[in-house]
């Protein structure tokens, strides 16, 4: 078999390239400076390309991550030399790159440094001047190792739009002279908040049901969780970081169970609990416990508590709805949002019945944001059906189908509508 026989058996670690890409971009961006983010990305792309061109024929190296790390550093050196950006500063960067390329990548100190680099880059991506869309795109592109096409697919956006957003963000890094220095004191607290907001947004976007692209959306959730854990493992973790990680892990545990074999939505109540991911549930409870340290009760805490109550229902075969209702009341006190009120109605129905639940969301009809929100109409239709008002329920589901929603959601509404007539 000649050279072919040296090809190593065993598959590559899942998402190895994507995760290594994120780390290496973060690391190279620190060495070369954030204004050279393009250089970092280009070098990492080059390393992946080299792997694709050599590994199938010469076998996968024993330490694949270290191989990529070294090749990416050398590629960065080549690019710098090619650009002929001479001068003391460039020479210093090349020297630093050379030093790192020669280090043993399995050194635990290196691992710690790389985690730190990822964290710094993420905090820079979430700089308050950046704007959320830019923060989201830039975090995914750099620390996340997603491509423009993947980001566009995940957000149902045009590739050109995402590319523009990234270009603007990078310009802002250069013009605003953003650095990878961690902010301190109050500034750090504020920045942490915006990092958590971006992660929560990523997670929710991934969690929302959309036709087709199930895989990329799942990846989005898992990436938000991964980055959340990265923050949680660092010295700047506060209890609310653990709360966010807990709610993401507990939610991610249910990802596989919320669509059936036909790709149709399955409501939480009807989900097969045995399909919830036990490993992620355990991870969620671990962080939920850690979120209890201190007196702070953030919205993440309450969301995590709601997710934990649902997760416990798997073992107890019953959901503690009075507790969930109490938690929604707490959430309303923290953030009087109509969407929270809508979700609370489901708990009200479980505890006091559909009548009081209907009354609790009556006022939402006049809310301009919720008037034509499919979920409000779907919840209302569901409650009307429970109190036996079939025709009114059918009208609700029909109206909901006319609102903006995804294909699986529309199929779900159609089924409910048929249920009213049958």
């Amino acid at each position: 078999m000649g050279d072919v026989a040296t090809a190593e058996a065993g598959p590559l670690v899942e998402h190895l390239f994507r995760h290594q890409a994120g780390r290496m971009v973060a690391h190279l961006a620190r060495l070369a400076g954030p204004a050279n983010l393009d250089l970092a990305e280009e070098s990492v792309q080059e390393a992946m390309l080299r792997a694709l061109q050599t590994w199938p024929y010469q076998g996968v190296p024993g330490n694949a991550a270290a191989w990529l790390f070294r090749v990416a550093h050398n590629a960065a050196i080549d690019v710098l030399r090619r650009r002929q950006m001479l001068g003391e500063k460039t020479e210093a960067i090349v020297a630093e790159l050379t030093r790192w390329a020669a280090l043993r990548a399995d050194d635990p100190d290196i691992d710690e440094q790389l985690r730190d680099d990822e964290l710094r880059l993420m905090f820079m991506c979430c700089h308050p001047e950046m704007g959320r869309d830019a923060s989201v795109a830039l975090s995914l592109k750099t620390v996340g190792g997603f491509s423009v096409r993947e980001i566009a697919r995940a957000f149902l956006a045009e590739e050109a739009t995402v590319a523009q957003r990234l270009a603007r963000a990078k310009r802002q890094i250069r013009l605003g002279r953003l650095t990878l220095e961690m902010p301190r004191g109050r500034e750090l607290r504020r920045r942490l908040d915006s990092v958590l907001e971006v992660l929560y947004f990523l997670f929710n976007e991934g969690y929302a049901a959309h036709e087709g692209e199930e895989l990329i959306r799942r990846d989005l959730c898992m990436e938000a969780l991964r980055l959340g854990r990265l923050v949680a493992a660092s010295s700047i973790a506060e209890p609310r970081v653990h709360a966010l990680v807990a709610l993401m892990a507990l939610g991610a545990a249910r990802l596989g169970a919320r669509v059936d074999a036909a790709g149709d939505l399955v409501l939480l109540d009807d989900q097969d609990r045995s399909r919830w991911d036990g490993r992620l549930t355990a991870l969620g409870f671990h962080h939920f416990d850690r979120s209890m340290a201190g007196d702070e009760v953030s919205e993440y805490h309450v969301h995590a508590a709601i997710a934990a109550t649902h997760a416990r229902s798997a073992a107890e075969r019953a959901t503690d709805w009075p507790l969930i209702l109490q938690l929604y009341d707490q959430l309303l006190a923290l953030n009087a949002s109509p969407v929270v009120e809508l979700n609370r109605a489901v708990a009200v129905a479980k505890v006091y019945g559909a009548g009081p639940a209907l009354a609790s969301i009556e006022a939402l009809e006049n809310d301009p944001k919720l008037r034509d929100y499919y979920l409000r109409l779907a919840v209302r239709g569901h409650l009307l059906l429970e109190v036996g008002k079939r025709e009114e329920a059918a009208a609700c589901f029909r109206a909901a189908m006319g609102c903006a929603c995804s294909e699986p959601e529309r199929r779900f509404l159609k089924k409910r509508l048929e249920g009213c007539e049958g």
Binding site: G2, D3, V4, L12, R18, Q53, T54, Y57, G145, S147
Partner: protein
Amino acid sequence: MSQFMLLVYGDPANWQTLSPEEMQKATEKYLAWTKKSFTVDAKRLEGDAGRVMRAVRGGKPRVVDGPYSETKEVLGGYYTIDAADYEEAVRLALDHPTLEYGGTIEVRKVWGT
């Protein structure tokens, strides 16, 4: 059993826009192919344009730098595989990942095998 050569042509630009995740998937697919039981040999060629030698009537052969043709596709690698006949060789080659990435495969039987 005969031997066949698969000459794999592709446009290197096709790889530039792949994401890390897609590169990993591609690497795994190519790797799986070099490990197939019918694969006797698998080699990749350097990405440079190479040299071309051309006989000049009545003179010394002329050596020039590549590329050899005007097309963007370059010969990127070759495989030697075992197959009963052309049909089987083609059937096996149809499964090669390069076709997913916009490449071309030329299947040639090795003389006398």
